[in-house]
Amino acid sequence: MSNKFVRAIRADEIAPGGMKAVDLDGREIVVCNCGGAYYAVQRRCGHMNAPLELGTLDGIYLTCPMHCAQFDVTTGEALSGPVPPDPDHEALPPTLGAYMQNIGILMSHVRTESMRTYRTRLEAGWVEVG
């Protein structure tokens, strides 16, 4: 990782408890405002790549919108994996069912990886990411 910090977003563009996705030269990053402390994490969930800025941020804990994997944004650590779906919820059409079953088999090998985090600093009202 380089020592360079670049301007990511104006600090006041993210309300406390909020998140915003930014693209920094191809790096997809989500900036989180945890009660005035800013953290930057990779945008893609370590489970199935869902965009995390569409999830929820509670304190320092980010929940993915797709399957509810949870992360600590200060360390990037994955705290819990996806919440398993409910196969008994409703009957799926036969072909879709078979497709989903295949996907399920493939997904069972997927690990929820911890997230990359990036250094942040506040400089003249800007959140800078390094």
Binding site: D58, Y61, Q70, L79, G81
Partner: protein
Amino acid sequence: MNAESRKRSLQYFFEKVVGPLGFKFTPDVELKEFLLDQEVILEAKHGAPFCPCQPLRHDRTRDMKMVCPCIPFHREHFDAIKRCWCGLFVHKDVIDPNTLPQLDQKDVGHE
């Protein structure tokens, strides 16, 4: 996944739910840590932090009522005994949790 980190995050989330219901974590720290340890294990195994003292039925509708904190599904019972079933939570005014027996609902008032 680190069990300690998961415990701390569960504690953070649970506190916010049980507070408005009039409960707090048991002052018995050893019991609290043990029960949270079990819940982390149960979550890793079954997908949610289930109560360590209630049997899973493998029926989603029933089992979801045992996800911690399960207080809302046993409000009357737990308010009567001032604790939840496994004892992770007690009423806010409880100083000594050892004074609270683990009474089943039908035993309340007959002890």
